[in-house]
Symmetry: C2
Subunit: 500 residues, 2 copies
């Protein structure tokens, strides 16, 4: 490696680290906005976010960065494999950022904050009309961004942002096959008698829920020395691998939801905390993409957290916390409640079987919005129509329909498919781990997750962004992303509960 | 005003607003570091702070700012009085910032974070030796900064940073007179019998303390719609007028300390929340200086919060919260406990009478450190010697001596005098308010603080940085900062309690 190349590399690495640290500060501010912001300070924070986003954008697009990348690319042969990964990803990010005018970034950031607060209000009041202008703006911002990027297809561009290498050409057949495969499973379940009395879980004190949760989260391997778990309206995992901020919410009358949410966010957090930190801000320290991220949240929430072995260990502890509340619930009822399948209007409340139908609904609508086949004003009706088609019911209100999710208000179009891609990957990883680690689930019966976490660290976390979701699947499970594993898993877990 | 001047002004105002918003983000990060930071994330946060400080420095010192200021200064006659205030202060800040190299700012910010954590450890372990290198570094940073500034006297330079227009030439005679005036008051008190049984305040549940505090804080006028009150090891008031973050701490066995601290921070917060917000980031939106700030915290903590009228209203409520704990404390004992004077090693635990002696001790030591008359290694002994002189005792350990305060570890030399200057100003403002507002204290007996707050808003808060501490004193109280009002106040409040 020549001196110029070496210098360009070290400058690039220093720059990426700096951007990583400054982005981490933005991550803490985002967390603070969700967890702590006084109600009257929202507009003020929106302004701060706008200025900060513009500043970060400017720092990310310094002309020197382009020059370092040119130097490194011209001397590509002298780079190691890892160095090439760093340069490739840095180029991808730089090119994407540099095409966006700073004023656009600031304008969009401010609009996003405003749109978020408008969405909160609109959802509260079931008032789609008041939100429609913000949604239109969000869509316009995305279209404008895609134009700056000279994207061939605007929607595909955003899919690729969240999941490098992914596209509608890959997703379409996967989702079609999944939809087809889910149908008979769901039909069997829905035609069976629902044996779960729904009203058993009432009056679980929030403090007890939180104390129990914290034990589970710590047992999974979350490192509280460099992370926190707080309360927020929307559960999420934010911050940075070196300062991880998870949130969850508690409802005394829906304790299983809090538990699932916390295990889900823990999966995200374990991925973040398992990422290598040697080259901060580069592809060697970043997660592979959102599908890979969702695979990690799902595997802990579902494959682990809804399984009998998990509950074999934790049920006595859960009963110790909620003796009275669970007095009339036997072990089988508890397990059935945890794995109850029922069509519900709200995605985040959905069970594992119907969840992907919620995603397929949104995926179709996003594409239609981008293609102009559905107008913003017609969204509620289009949503309801698809809900009837896919899920068999009409939402009682827009609050339970097209206003339920936060994503679109913040311009996160193209993100939804990641959830289902993540479910596909989670199931594939699950069977691969079980094949490699004999009697894996017996560990869970002892509350021991070290072998599973170790396997995920090795096969997913430590790879950082060297591979995308498909690459991870191929290397770790021997085949590309497909639907077989998920359908097999759903059949194995749910059909025994719903066939007599 | 010509077009160029008009343009320069509007550019400058936009820039100041931007810096204000970006600084506010830094304020939230500081609050987060004190309130939320996971223990293992300290070094990571120190890095973030370093990068962020450098970025803010760079943004504050853009060459355009200097050009706008030149244009405005050249056309000074066309500016209004307020515009001149804005330009003068912007010039002061710009010149100060522009002289500092960015790498110095980043280096110092990182060192400060490290020094803070080293100080926490050293204080915990009573290990001055482990902290000494950090303190030496902090002092070197300050000397280096003063050199960049071509300051005639390094210590005076920092005094002026915290309190514009203030200097050792003004402080020396004030502190000498105060010291002299305090002596007979303290002698009288110490020779009287201490009638407060010290062990009455035990086992006050923290939740009750917090609930009571919040009522008091809200009654004073703190706006929770744009502010928060949280728990932290060190009570402080941070954030921004539009998102004010106060903290306090609770000790079940020292409830009066928590209460005083909270009232103190509320005074700071009321000042912040009372500042005009029309010209963010300029002298028209900034507090006058730290002495003025301390005057506001002190007036609410002491002149209001330790008075009989305050307690006439709040005592029943306090007893409702702590019925059992206060069962054996009669009203007179409660009042005496609140106004107990006793020499204690820790400044922040000190009563109003001895507090200023703690400051005079630090002020003398700071000057000697800067002048090289005291070496870092000799600081513990120098501290103890002065403690004997001024307060009559030798601290039992460095933790109770020269390691007790956070200021020096973060390089805040020259800040300490502000506390006593603030006490002087508070007493002057107090008598001026009482002279103007007939029967002011009767309001407090009804839990009503609107007239006092209104007077402070008008005479202090709304002035922003148009006047410094001395200017505020002269306009609002008819005389410059002096010692008479404070000495009068201390005599009136304390001598009746300690003479029989």
């Amino acid at each position: 490696m020549g001196m110029d190349t070496r210098k360009a590399l070290s400058e690039l690495l220093a720059h990426q680290k700096r951007i990583d640290r400054l982005s981490a500060a933005a991550g803490i501010l985002f967390w603070d906005e969700q967890v702590n912001l006084p109600p009257g300070s929202a507009a003020f924070r929106a302004e701060q976010n706008g200025y900060y986003a513009e500043l970060l954008h400017r720092e990310s697009t310094l002309p020197e960065v382009g020059q370092w990348l040119d130097t490194l690319e011209a001397d590509r042969d002298s780079l190691s494999d890892d160095e090439r990964v760093i340069v490739k990803e840095a180029r991808r990010e730089y090119d994407r950022e540099v095409k966006l005018p700073g004023e656009f970034v600031a304008r969009r950031s401010k609009a996003r904050s405003e749109s978020f607060h408008a969405w909160v209000e609109a959802r509260k009041k079931n008032d789609f009309a008041s939100f429609a202008p913000h949604l239109r703006k969000a869509l316009d911002f995305s279209r404008e961004e895609a134009e700056y990027q000279d994207a061939e297809d605007a929607y595909d561009f955003f899919v690729d942002v969240y999941d490098p290498g992914m596209s509608t050409a890959v997703i379409d057949p996967l989702f079609a096959k999944l939809s087809e495969g889910l149908r008979p499973i769901l039909d069997t379940i829905l035609s069976a008698e629902d044996t779960t009395p729904p009203d058993l879980f009432r009056g679980f004190p929030v403090d007890g829920q939180e104390a129990f949760l914290r034990e589970v989260v710590a047992a999974f391997g979350f490192d509280f020395n460099v992370g926190r778990l707080d309360r927020a309206v929307h559960p999420f995992c934010g911050g940075h691998p070196l300062d991880t901020r998870m949130t969850t919410r508690y409802d005394p009358d829906n304790p299983l939801d809090s538990l699932s949410s916390a295990m889900h966010e823990t999966g995200h957090a374990l991925y973040e905390q398992g990422l290598p930190t040697d080259y901060p801000g580069t592809a060697l320290s970043h997660a592979a993409g959102m599908a890979a991220h969702e695979s990690q949240s799902r595997i802990w929430e579902n494959q682990v957290g809804r399984g009998r072995p998990f509950w074999r260990h934790w049920e006595p502890r859960y009963r110790a916390f909620f003796k009275e509340q669970l007095a009339k619930v036997d072990s089988d009822q508890l397990y059935r409640a945890i794995n109850r399948v029922a069509v519900t209007p709200i995605r985040v409340d959905a069970d594992e079987v119907t969840y992907n139908l919620h995603i397929i609904l949104r995926y179709g609508l996003e594409r239609d919005l981008f293609a102009g086949r559905v107008a913003i004003g017609d969204l509620p009706e289009a949503w309801n129509e698809r809900s009837r088609d896919l899920l068999g019911f009409t939402p009682a209100s827009d609050t339970e329909g097209c206003l339920q999710d936060v994503h679109w208000c913040e311009g996160m179009f193209g993100y939804f498919p990641s959830y289902t891609l993540g479910n596909l990957l989670a199931a594939q990883l699950w069977y691969a781990a079980k094949d490699t680690l004999p009697d894996l689930e017996e560990d869970f019966g002892r509350g021991d997750y070290t072998r599973l976490l170790g396997w995920l660290r090795e096969n997913v976390h430590s790879k950082a962004r060297r591979e995308n979701a498909n690459g991870l699947a191929e290397r770790a499970t021997g085949r590309p992303l497909g639907t077989e594993a998920l359908l097999r898993y759903l059949r194995e877990r749910y059909l025994p509960l719903y066939t007599t």
